[in-house]
Structures are given as C-alpha cells and as structure tokens.
Amino acid sequence: MQMLIRKALRDLWNLRWQMGAIVLVLACGVGVLVMSASTLKSLEGTRARYYDDYRFGDLFCSLKRAPESALEGIQSIDGVALCDSRIVTAARSLISEEGDTFQLQAVSIPDQGEPLVHRIHLRAGRWPEPYSESEAIVSEAFAAARGLRLGDRLQVAIEGKEWSFELVGIGLSPEFIYEIAPGGLLPNSKAFGVVWMRRRGLAAAAGMTGAFNDLVLRTAPGVRVPWVIREVDRQLGSYGGLGAYARSEQRSHRFLTSEMEELQGMAIVAPSLFLMVAALLMNLVLTRWIGSQREQIAMLKAFGFTSWEVALPYLALALMLALLGTLFGLLLGVYLGEGMTAMYSRFFHFPNHRFELSTVVLLRALVLTSLSALLAVGAAAMAVIRLQPAEAMRPEAPIPYGHGWQDRLVSWMRMPPATGMMVRHIARHPRRVLLSILGIASAVTVLVLGSFMRDAIDAMFDMMLGDAKRHDYQVTFTHAVDESVASELRAIDGVMDVELFRMVAARMTQGNRQRLLAIQGIEPDGRMQVLIDSKSHRHSLPGTGVLASRKLLESLGTDVSGTLHADVREEHQPVLSLKVGGAIDDVSGEGIWIDRRTLCTLLRESPRATGAWLRIDANKQADVVRQLRERPVIVHIESVAQQKASFRATIAENVGRMRWINRIFSLIIAMGVLASTGRLSILERQRDLATLRVLGYRTGELHWMMASELMLLTLLAIPLGWVLGYAGSYATVHAFDRELFRIPLVVSPGTYLQAAGIVLAATLVIAWSMRYRIARLDEVAVLKARQ
C-alpha cells in the first residue's frame, strides 16, 4: 500500500495546478462559511457579554409622567430584579458651526453613581460630578461624527429651554448599540446621538423634578415576561404609560438581530455555491484523471490488488484535497472573520470584541468538503474499478464518430477539419462539457451574486430616499399639533411646500402575534413622500382602510381582507380596528399607512400632525433652517441630503468589502475551472494535436483551435451563469428577508455585463497560456506512446 500511496502522491504532484485550483475553490467556500459563522458567533458572544456586563434591560416602558413614588410598586412586582426610573427627552441643537442640525436623546443618570440598568461604558473622560447640571457624557458615534472632544461645550434646547453643558465623558450603552433616531432607518451619527446627564439637571430642564417618564427593568431568570408587562402596564396606566415592551421589540436590539440574520443568510448561500463548484471541479478533474489511469488500474488488478485497495488511494486523495481546502479555508475564514468582526464592532460601537472561531461550523465544513470530495471522486473511481481487468487492458472502444447531429452540422456548415474536431469533441463528451460549462457558469453566478447586493441596495436607496422622499427636510414636532401649523410653516420665506403627517406608535395585534410600529397618517394625494414598492411602482392609499406592507401582514398572519387591531401607545391608549384595504411590497419592511385625517378621527382628535415634510428654496436654506430651529414646537429637523450621505457611507464599507471578497473568489473559481478544462483538453488530445503538427499544422493554428473551444464553452456558460445568478439573488433576497427592511430583487444590466466581462477576460488569459503548453508538446514522444 505504501507504494500505492506514493504513486497517488506523485500523481497529485503532477496534477498540482488542477488540484491547487480545487483546493482554492474549496478554501473559498470554507473561508466564507467560517468567516460568516465565526463573525456571527463573535458578534453574538460580544453582544451577550455586553448585555450582561452592562445590564441591558429585559423590559422597557415610556410614560407621560409618574411620581418617583410609583417606582416602589414596580419594584415590588414579582420577578423584577432591577429597576431604574429615568427621564428621557429630546434635545436639539441650537448652534452648529457647520450650519446643520442634530438631535440628541437626553437620558438621565442617577445624581450619584452609575445607573443600575443600562450601565454606561466610559470610552474616555469621566462621569459628571454628582448633581452636576452642566456636565454630560455623549455617545461615542456622535462625538466621533461631530469631531467633539472632552471639554467641548454643547448648547441645546430641551423642552424649549436653552441648556449648555460641558462634555466630560464619551460613552457607550447597550441600549444604543444601533444608534438610530426615532423614525430613522439607518444610523446617522452626525444628526443623532445620545447625551447622558445627571438627573437633577435634566429633570429641571424637562420639567420633571420628582418624576420620571421612562422605565427600564431587568427580570429575574425564568420569569414570564408577558406577565410582568401586563403588571407594569396596569400600574403605569394612570400615569400615561405607553405600554411596556420586551427586549425583542427594543429598537437597537431589533436592528442588531436583523443584521445578524443577514450574516446568517450569507453563511448559507455563498458557501453552498462555492462548495458546489468545488465538487464540480473535483469531479471534472478526477473523472478525467482516473479515466486516464485505466491501464494502470488494470495492471494493479492483474497483479492481485483488490478493487478496494485500488480505490483507496483515490478516495484518500479526494479526502486530502478536502482536508487541505478546509485548512486553507480555515485560515482564510479566520483572517476575514477577524476583519469582519472588527468592522462590525466598530460599526456597532461595542466596548470590545473577541473573535470566536465557530468549531461546529469548522466540523460542518470538514464534513461538507469531505462529502463533496467523495461524491466527486466516488462515481468516477467506482466506474473504473468495476471494469474487468481484461477489459481495462484493452484500449477504450473508439467513440463512434459519424452519426450524430454534430456530424451533420459539421458537414452542412462545411467546417474545416480542425473546427470539425472541436465540435465533435464537445458533442461527444456531453457530461464533461456540461461540467465545464457549469463550472464556468458558477463563476459568473458568484459575480452576479456579489454585485447584485450593490444593485439591490442602490435600488433600495432610490426607493427609500430617492424616489420616495421628494422633500428637502423633515421636521418633527414635540407633540401632535393642530394642522394650522402648515400655514405657519408655509409663511416662512423660502419654504416652497409643506405636507403634514401624523404618526402614532401602536402595538399591532392579531391573535397572539404582535408588532410594535408607527402608524403613518399621510395625505392621500401626497407629493412629498410617496409610497413606492420594491418594483418601483407607485401606490396610493386605498379608498377605505389602511395600506399595509405585505411583510407585516405575513408577520401577523393575515391578508388584504383582514382587520388589524392597533393598541395605540399614546395618552388615551385607544384600541383601533383597522381594515386592510391594500398591501404593498415595501422595501422598508413593516409599515401601515392611512389617511391622516382619518387617523385623527379614529384617535378622536381634531386634525393634527406630528411632523411635516418641507420643500425649500435652495438659496434660502440656511435661513429657513435657522427660523425652523427657533420654533419650540419643532423638536427635530432632518435634511434628506444628509440622510442620503449617511446611508451611503454606512453601506459603503460593509457592502464594498463583501463585493471585493466575492470578486476575488469568483475570479479564483473562473481561473480554476478554465485552467483545469484547458489543461485537461490538451492532455486528452495531445495525440490529436501531435498528429496535426506532424501533418504540418502550426502551433498558432492548434492554439486557435483549442482556445476557441474554451471560448465556446465560456460563451455557452455565460447565459447559464446569468440565470443561476438571478436564481441565487432570489434565494439571497429570501434568505435575507428582514423585518426592518426588505431587499428588492434588482439585478442591473451592468452587473450581468461586468460578470460576463470578468469571466471572458479570465478565459482570454487562460486561452493565451494554452499556447505555451501546445508549443511544448513533444509530438514524437506523444505519437510513440501507446494510445
């Protein structure tokens, strides 16, 4: 057996380029798998530790105002382990050197010491002095985006009153891992941040002395959270409680979870594809290789080796490839995973991060690669091993050329003999050709898949921010105000158009399913914020009932004819029955839209608005913004241009990196498949080529013949790759189906062309390199060898 193993190893060395390609492709598959799974594991671990160490709440509740004494009742609820009352209010910028605005969420911390729940990780600086009214900590992302330093002073308006504080600390909180302004979809750290202040100062500013308007709880292990929620709601109902909710509905937690689900999707689609290609490639190379060893196998059997003994080195070789692929994949995956984990940790502002290798995934990768290796080699090995030695000793029966469509095609088109050889060769080896085409097509597929994400995000960008948002600014009011505010806003010089909206937070329930979201009351003939679905079709509000995103209806287990129950989380907490009048495949995930006035009627109020969209004369922008800031009723001003810039910046790094990884990997696949195909074609046909050269063909002519065969395979593979790429994109969209926003299935012509272009370029490179091999053919030696 030792000699057989030595033989297998030497054969392996002879096939080192092909085997190298297989190992590389396997490594890519395992690499993406290890990267995604380990990044996911690391992020989950990091988040879990962060939540534990900094006591992230299990239950959250906002309310209008409750006396501090109300806290005792909450603390006595069975199962409540820790409880903190807080004051949470909005603070908006007064002066900004850059002329733009920002909004801060001001959160109180105890007058002395640290909060019990939602502890703050101080990245720099110190805690504000006890009872200090002029010192504060701001969130790291905000400080970084704004270039704030310790000792800087910020001037804000809280509840219409000016407030100035000194920045003494820069901090992080598990509550704001994903720092998004209320109503926002993505973080915009320049426009939104968090400021923590000692309670006395904030209470004075917000008119909340002796009272609180926000509650965070940690429950004891094993407690039934819904029961605690009911109890909290019961106790705080009379204080204007807006309904307690669990961690699963906490904004930052939801976004983070959604982001992790995306990673999980990535851990399935891409590696499966790479492993499939590797299996294909192995099958392609090993089948041909084993086929070429018929006589050696026959000799071994003639001398008394059993079939199993003959087969074992081939199987061992396949397993060795799998092992090598897994090993390199592991190294690649750890390298990329560490980078990804660091990138995500920066993005989410985790206090620290630790890369954790997912051993389960590593084992899974090993099993997957081994299985694909054995599958690839198994059938080929068995076929030759089943051969009777006497049969294998005879040269393979000549392929019966002369009776197929390809032969008629060759005669009908009067192809020159060399071209005829190529066509016949392709047609007579359908399985091999199909495998080669599939291999090349998969490179196109990976490229389409890699770039599709960019297309989809561009499309989502266009839909959410481009096509949909036809205004320049969005202003949010401190509370629901009379719709006469529209004429006041219109009166500002430079405001060209105003459109009001009324948003209300509600818990949508259907049976035991529920979702917390904002019902959006908009104008039925809205011009400034239009409803666009994932296919770019414009929707309008239905004649009766609400328009709901299809995703929400699916989540709640209802359909277009159903009725939704909305538990409104505002002062009087009415419960509304909303008939669904239409559905929309919205990119932003889950939403409900209704006629603003109808909503107000349902809420039993006069026509009101909680915000407005404005179109502004570009020349008067600064002036308008200044005037808007002076109005105490306006709590937040957000520029659409800034939102767009922030969106692009956020996505650019994440998507950009993945795109490059995909490009490199698909290039490896394309080169691997093409090089193997080209090399094997020459090996198999070296006798034909030698004969042709002896007959007077030039190297260039032979090269053209072989290269055009490869080119033909690529041309056949490209459309297939496009189709598979589209199918893969479809699968990805569904694997990534997120609650918060939905990725549209958009693949641009540019993506298809780019994928085809890269694979064609790879084909040209490989085709060119074939010339060297053909020139090196020793025709005398080849012709002397037995066929």
């Binding site: 057996m1 000699m3 002879n14 001398f303 080796f305």
Partner: protein
C-alpha cells in the same frame, strides 16, 4: 509427466467492442504443466490474448471450464480471482504497463508489498540486470529496460505461472533477446510455467511446447524436445 496445472475444456469467450460482437474463443481444450515454456502463436484476433487473460484470472469464459490445479476458475468469484492472481500469477505486458510516477524499484515494490512469498525487489531487478537503474523513472529507461522492470515486477512475487503478452513486441532485436533470456532463465531456474504470446514464429524455437491459434481455436499443438537459447533464434 507433471500433472497439468491448467485444464481447459470447451472455452468460449464473446465480448463487445463498441457496437461489434467479437467471438474471441470458440471452444478451446488444453492442458498446461509446471516447468513448461509455452509459446502461443497466431495472427491478430486469433484469441491468444483472450486465452491468456482467462488463464491469468483477468477474465472469465463465456462458457466452458478452466481449472487451476483443483480450483475451477470459470466459477470463481471476483474475490477468488483476485486472490489467485495475487498468489500465483505474474504478468508481462507488451507495453510494460509500468506506473510512470514510480521508479523501477518502486514499481517492483508495489508488488512485493502485497505478495505472499516475494524476493527482495532489488534482487528481482538484479536478476534482470538492472542493478544500476533502480531509481530511474520509466521515462528515463529504454524500452528494453522498461520491459525488464516489468519482468522483475512479475517474477518478484515468485509466481507459479508467468504470463507474457508480446513481451518483445515493442523492442528491437538485441533488447528482445535479452528479455527472452531473462524469461528462459526464470523458467528454467524456478520451474515457473511460462506462457508467451507472440506474433513472432521464430520465438517458438525456444519453447517446450508451441500452440498455434486461429479464429479462436487451437489449430496446432506440438512439443519441442530441444528448445534453443534466445541467442540462437533465427529472427
């Protein structure tokens, strides 16, 4: 007279090559004994190779029986045939069938590794006069040297039967003689039943028995009581 090693009765073999059905053997009866040097003569397609394959347990007859001592090879399972080849048969092929990725020594060791009573690979190679070529790969050896490695590989297991299919077919005269001398030495010194297929009728002069075949049948079988040395053959 030695008892027969092989006893064949009514052997036929039909197989397909592509779309053609070939009747390779059409009823062969024969007996072969230890120590014999048998030359099988006949034109292409006469059934020599098929007969050799069946004798060597590489193939089974379509009908008829073939017995090796008290073993019925025509009824043997695949496993029994493998064991038979492993224990008793050495092959020498026209095109050597060496493993190109193994050196001469390693090609022989490939077989000594699995044989029951092998001689050292170096000794086998010394017997064929290749002591100084042990570590050469097949591509670094001449045709004659390659064939001698193939013979060394065949005799290294000390087989009871040595089956050679056109062992000199691909060799020049002088090299052919060297190879035949090696075969004759093995036959005479070890008493190995040696069966050689050839187109070359002059090789028959060194045989103890000459069997001629045509169209899948034995047409002549004669004894040669005075075999000559390969150097004395008239080519």
């Amino acid at each position: 007279m030695e008892p027969p090693v092989f006893r064949a009765r009514g052997l036929t073999k039909v197989y397909r090559v592509g779309q053609v059905e070939v009747h390779a053997l059409r009823g062969v009866d024969m007996e072969l004994c230890f120590g014999e040097f048998v030359v099988l003569l006949g034109p292409s397609g006469s059934g020599k190779s098929t007969l050799l394959n069946i004798l060597g347990g590489l193939d089974v007859p379509t009908s008829g029986t073939i017995e090796y001592l008290d073993h019925d090879l025509s009824q043997a399972t695949e496993g029994q045939l493998v064991q038979f080849r492993r224990d008793h048969v050495g092959f020498v092929f026209q095109f050597y069938n060496l493993i190109p990725s193994l050196t001469a020594l390693e090609n022989v060791r490939l077989i000594t590794d699995i044989a029951a009573k092998p001689i050292p690979a170096e000794q086998a190679l010394a017997q064929v006069g290749l002591t100084d070529r042990l570590h050469h790969f097949p591509s670094q050896l001449s045709g004659g040297e390659q064939q001698r490695v193939a013979i060394a590989r065949a005799i290294a297991k000390q087989p009871d039967i040595l089956l050679c299919d056109e062992p000199t077919g691909a060799l020049d005269l002088q090299t052919g003689i060297t190879v035949l001398e090696t075969l004759q030495t093995v036959n005479q010194q070890l008493g190995t039943l040696t069966v050689v297929i050839t187109h070359n009728a002059s090789i028959a002069q060194m045989a103890t028995r000459v069997i001629s075949m045509r169209d899948g049948r034995i047409v002549d079988c004669r004894r040669n009581d005075q075999p000559v040395a390969p150097t004395q053959l008239n080519w």
